[in-house]
Assembly symmetry: C2
Homo-oligomer: 396 residues x 2
């Protein structure tokens, strides 16, 4: 954990041991300050775009064909230390190694901290990179609300940012290549016996809000057959989602729930539940979500309740640039592997040649306090990223 | 709704139309002020005991063998207008009718507002009457926490009350009879074609906290067979609870839930769910909860997760005083009916002769914004309560 030691205490909950670094929280602001300081120490020029993405330029900040590195610093609620930050600290460490050896990049090298990657606060993942790429409309993003009912517009304004500046970013047109390093979220590299791997693809994935509605009533006085309890259809949907996803070799998770009114002695009137689902192909994913939706509707109808399903965000499959992928796999003698997790690299991949390096995760656990990577594997990640910069930004 | 018009706006949520009057909230404090004003207007002497129970005495406040009326003013989250307040306003209206006709009670008549009846904030129902009756230990009550982690001791102190004063109440030893009027929570009186009925019994009931624990992980990167997702065992338990309660002619409800960490893209590590269950007999109830617990344990074991079940409060069956019940049923020519709902009258019934009057509820809905009773039926309730006071507190 030595690479991450400088930020190990920021936003860490003493009770759970997990990180609570949602976008624009106090913890996130502290990490932004830390990022600015790291850039300054290395003589990099810090630019923040209108979306809150921080960019530390090694070489002219108005240069072209830049090589972009970095990842994000925000976390899911009670997330781990590595998801995001490992890519940022490894990028700075690679710059250190190259500066020590007197390397002069032939193109600008940029370390990024993308804003709001997890989407934990406003519900849309990779908001910072999507906005910069023009893949998310500013008016839609600014109207998104957090759990306290505050809009993104209110939140960024309260942090001294101008909501009118949100939108497609000019700097992105001056990036030629993006390489994002990330802790693996799974155990493929354990099976491969490799500390570092190169990504082939990101599964298509998305988030769907299931809104189950029934009728509130007294928990003691209402006979079971007279109830319209939306928790029942929700429960049936949870079991169906597992069965269907398992059969399809895909993934389905209900990790966030909201029950109204939430009294112990009242039958609820409403359950909102968010489905996160992923599959190897886009048709497979659509079919799986349709089947889960159908199961929810059948269960709701049986109970005289109802369900509506709204897609909150759906990300298509990403196949990373084949030439770049093969070049890095050969350079590093590293295995190639797909992932079920979304990343800013997936958002930018339609716009420019993009690649990802994964660092081995011995347990496969991510989005949890116990997420972990060995110091030696993290060092191997830095070494690999250093080699990549040397290769892609060296004098030709 | 004319009887309830004076407090119709207090704590009403404009979005849901439901009442949010949890114990010691701003809305509850406003209702206490209103209660004090109503007592003053009628020349009643207001006393508040150490538990926050408000008592308006008609006749000497140190008198003996008092006839207690009243109910409570707090609500479940997004509750209805009638559950609790109808009993309080009907008691004041009965006092009005009797004062108009020059009635002089032969024993003190007391209108009560019992504190924290719903238990919506601290998890223990009828806290005010239980504390007064010595059926809840003050140190246990004061240590109960609300959802913000504040203890009851902190909350009452912040409202200017002395936590050291919480405990058994002397005034209760000077009460000879309690008659609580309440809106029916069910449709028995609709079937009986009667505006008012008399309670025979309260089913035994309780609240159990089910604490399902699994392992947080990434929703995209974790294959279905590798998961330890506690939402699955929770869902299986919800379906089992319905099946078992239906078969037993009993009731089981999961109306309150807490999922951690609650991120859309994270498999949860923990689900806490509160079971409210009721049955006609105590052995039936114990058997039902044991069967639901066993179903939860089996489901959890299958998933490599775990569940612990803790009884938070269990109330025995209540059979109201037979003599008083028959006297009121004869006096009012009213049907006799049991209920699945708990009440302060159930708490006090082991200590003194206690009865309940129910007012017809056309839909049977309660603990919901649509809870309703006809004005005519409410007027019949006041008339019945007036007759009861005339009968029980008239010159012998």
């Amino acid at each position: 954990m030595s690479l991450l030691a400088p930020i190990a205490d920021v936003g860490r909950h003493p009770g759970t041991g997990g990180y609570r670094r949602s976008a624009w929280s106090d913890a996130d602001m502290a990490l932004r300050e830390w990022f600015a300081g790291e850039a300054r120490q290395r003589g990099l020029v810090l630019v923040e775009d209108g979306n809150g993405n921080q960019l530390a330029w090694w070489g002219a900040e108005d240069g072209h064909d830049a090589l972009l590195l970095g990842s994000h610093l925000d976390s899911v609620p009670d997330g781990g230390a590595y998801d995001g930050p490992l890519g940022v600290v490894s990028s700075f460490a690679a710059v250190d190694a190259l500066q020590r050896e007197g390397f002069r990049p032939a193109r600008p090298v940029v370390v990024a901290n993308f804003a709001d990657e997890e989407g934990a606060r406003f519900g849309v993942a990779c908001a910072g990179s999507r906005l910069a790429a023009g893949a998310l409309a500013p008016e839609r993003a600014l109207a998104l609300t957090d759990r306290d009912g505050r809009t993104m517009a209110e939140v960024v304004r309260a942090r001294g940012r101008d909501p009118l500046a949100v939108g497609p970013a000019e700097w992105l047109t001056r990036v030629g290549t993006f390489v994002e390093l990330h802790v693996e979220q799974g155990r493929s590299l354990v099976h491969d016996g490799a500390a570092v791997g190169v990504a082939s693809a990101i599964w298509p994935h998305g988030r769907w809000r299931f809104d189950f509605r029934g009728e509130a009533n007294h928990a003691g006085a209402t006979p079971m057959p007279d109830r319209h309890d939306p928790v029942q259809a929700f429960a049936a949907t949870v079991l169906a989602a597992r069965r269907l996803a398992t059969a399809a070799g895909a993934r389905a998770t209900f990790g966030r729930l909201d029950v109204e009114p939430g009294g112990t002695n009242a039958i609820p009137s409403r359950v909102q539940a968010w489905l996160d689902s992923r599959a190897a192909g886009e048709a497979d994913l659509a079919e799986l979500v349709a089947a889960i939706t159908a199961a929810a509707q059948t269960a709701a109808e049986d109970d005289g309740t109802s369900v509506e399903v709204v897609a909150e965000s759906v990300s298509p499959a990403v196949s990373f640039d084949a030439g770049l992928r093969d070049r890095l796999a050969t350079l590093l003698d590293a295995p190639v592997l797909p992932t079920g997790a979304g990343h800013d690299a997936g958002v930018l991949s339609p716009l420019l040649p993009t690649a990802m390096l994964f660092v081995r995760n011995p347990t496969g656990v991510s989005h949890a306090p116990s997420e972990f990577a060995d110091d030696d594997d993290c060092a191997a990640g830095v070494e690999a990223l250093t080699a990549v910069v040397r290769d892609l930004a060296g004098a030709s």
